[in-house]
Symmetry: C2
Subunit: 438 residues, 2 copies
């Protein structure tokens, strides 16, 4: 079965989404709006809701006027939101981003373990190292650590987190009123980690999560990111533009997973799919043009700058092809991806920012349920994807339409479920439950 994430940043993925007449930009801090989205995604039998996050306002901007053109720089802290959604949903997975650069492993282990208990086994952690200086400046730094250093910290971080999740064996808590023993002392394990970045004794003050470990999601596509994913990820969220590119990535990633001694079937690779859906092709294209016409040029350029890793693009001519770019400490793979897209399609800077504005660098699918299902099916059946992280253009309409039109078409083709397989995210993704590690 094709696995589907619902990637749901209010008010949608198109950068002008919030300006759409039907969009509700206040939704970024409105629980009722998010509850409705989550329940819609659950009605569509999505595997999980996916929430991105930044440890600060990440958008590149030169002044407040430029920033004010953005449609999303305030929003719920994602674990706060997912905790609340957990108790208004039943089956859908709940995956949130948390940074290994600006948190402590003990706190992250606790929060995701708590969410996993709260949701009866539906938590996922999207592990990021963060990629902007803007975030670093909220955490006592002038600029972020080098890419390789962030990943070194990240590798130690997740080891500590996984170790803390295994502080208590699954059946450690016996609650034996008679003997006065709350737990079996033989089933407590002190981590006692001492490493380059962290010294963490443990135990965690949360019982082992219902899933053993919450599902690990990873979205880094750089060599460091891929190596991390090969070792740890169970869901890989990736940016892929063409079938061939996606196949190369898919096969390469699965090889790396096998080389790391893991079963590639236990990792679900989900390229992002930015979707504009209509009842007819013309309706979809109209919808897309409506959104594109709402893109403010100042904003478009600002967003592209952020995607390319804080490179100042203000000196480059807008209507000539994109020049060679200097290297960056940001997300280098993303920069390459966007750069290749510009070359491939012969885009000017202006065309590129419009293109990037739409899907934030992700593949755009603009069409009917049938044409979009064709596209997704082709990738799914040809070793390019195990499923997709679905990115609606604007919310809530975009998700409503996907659930009303696209999901039934995929169900008719037998590509996605019509009922949930189980209660946990692992059950639904078909992932094994990690055995206790000591």
């Amino acid at each position: 079965m094709m696995k589907l994430g619902a990637f749901l940043p209010a008010p949608g993925h198109h950068v002008a989404a919030w300006r759409h007449p039907n969009a509700y930009p206040q939704g970024c801090l409105d629980f009722d709006y998010y509850r409705r989205l989550a329940q819609t995604a659950e009605r569509g039998k999505f595997d999980m809701i996916f929430l991105s996050d930044g440890a600060g306002v990440r958008t590149h901007y030169r002044n407040a006027e430029e920033l004010s053109r953005q449609g999303r720089m305030v929003h719920f802290e994602p674990l706060t939101l997912l905790s609340a959604l957990a108790v208004h949903t039943t089956n859908i997975g709940l995956a949130a981003t948390a940074s290994t650069s600006y948190n402590e492993p003990f706190n992250v282990a606790r929060k995701f373990a708590s969410l996993d208990h709260l949701s009866h086994g539906r938590a996922g952690w999207n592990v990021v190292t963060s990629a902007t200086d803007a975030e670093a400046r909220n955490f006592n730094l002038e600029q972020q650590a080098a890419h390789a250093d962030r990943y070194r910290r990240s590798r130690e971080f997740i080891e500590v987190v996984a170790g803390l999740w295994d502080s208590w064996e699954d059946d450690a808590f016996t609650y034996d009123k008679e003997s006065g023993r709350f737990f079996d002392p033989d089933k407590l394990h002190i981590l006692g980690h001492k490493g380059e970045h962290f010294s963490v004794r443990g135990p965690l003050n949360v019982a082992r999560p219902p899933q053993g470990h919450p599902v690990i999601v990873q979205a880094g596509s750089s060599p460091d990111g891929q190596a991390f994913a090969a070792q740890w990820a169970e869901v890989v969220f990736t940016v892929q533009q063409t079938l061939e590119q996606a196949q190369d990535y898919y096969r390469g990633m699965r090889k790396q997973i096998a080389d790391a001694g893991r079963d590639p079937e236990h990792v679900k690779i989900l390229p992002g799919a930015f979707i504009v859906i209509g009842r007819t092709q013309a309706e979809a294209e109209d919808k897309y043009e409506t959104l594109q016409d709402l893109v403010d040029p100042v904003l478009g350029l600002s967003l592209l700058t952020a995607q390319l890793g804080d490179i100042d693009l203000s000196g480059y001519p807008l209507d000539e092809p994109l020049p060679e770019l200097p290297p960056t400490e940001g997300s280098t793979s993303k920069q390459q991806m966007i750069y290749q897209q510009a070359k491939r399609e012969g885009l000017t800077l202006r065309e590129l920012y419009k293109s990037v504005s739409a899907g934030r660098g992700h593949r755009r699918l603009i069409g009917t349920a049938e044409t979009i299902a064709d596209d997704l099916e082709e990738w799914f059946l040809n070793e390019a994807a195990d499923g997709f992280n679905i990115m609606p253009d604007y919310l809530p309409d975009g998700l409503d339409d996907i659930v009303e039109l696209l999901v039934p078409e995929l169900q008719r083709r037998g590509l996605v479920r019509t009922e949930y397989d189980g209660r946990t995210l692992r059950d639904n993704l078909g992932l094994p439950r990690p055995a206790f590690a000591r």
Copy 2:
């Protein structure tokens, strides 16, 4: 009106609570159990739910066998739990503990701002500096920082948090689809904090909280703690055993608040009240004896050790009066409080640990609705308290009985509300909304 907090650690405040036949020790990680507790407290028109927290297993223990006698060393991370409770309650305030020693101010500011938006203005932050080496060892330290150093960090920490909450003016977000301006650029304020412990640029990626700032709760009673409370606290949670002691504290605290240039009416002082309630005095005493009989001696001593700040008591004779104790880097005021109690009541170590086991050092009220209401009323009317942080013996029965028996008695006397005053925690506590600070 008397203000009431519902201090609700599953399975209750008595250290043997979990062993009571009616207790549900699994409740520590069971949302439905907590939802019922929260809804009961809301039915009782409590001002807020109060959740304590530790950044690790805080109990003093020499080995796993000793630890296994504890009834509560795993539990939900409190913000995870309060986020979920926020969307199953309407009026009751939601106050959680977060440490200034083991978090970053940007993360704490975000989480409480998010909870305040999620709950439409019902969030409170109980600011603690943490007080055990056990927690420090989960955060790259061998032992905790000195008491004074923790408070110095704490003072800078809260300044940063308050500054981040004021990143955006209340009406900054205009969502103006026409002009393409999501917010008014003149209403964004960059913090740009650079201090001894923190460099934090901002802005926060959450809009100004509905309450302006979530309500600040503080529970430190040392001179540093009191100075902190005088400057920042809006609710003070305190341990007081006798009326005279409570009056001294109350008057002294209000004087310090006034000296700090604040209105003492804007700070609510709530001593803890450990309550065992029965329909008759005999029923209450029976209930208490049932719980006391369930205290494991190894556990009692271990708990006392933790309360006194990680002092090893294993060498002292159990049936002689408590000796002079060495100073500690833990919570010195708590140590003094317990020490004074032992002297006053002429307790042996064994008697003291039994006494401390019951209320964790807090004042015990064992009686009927009438006698307990008499006690609370006396303190409330005689400058000893603005209300109480109510600590039920075991849950859920203890809270059920308080809401069924004690609250109606207090209502009959006109001491507590019969309906909520408003929707926000500030409305209900009668606290002003902080003006935008720049």
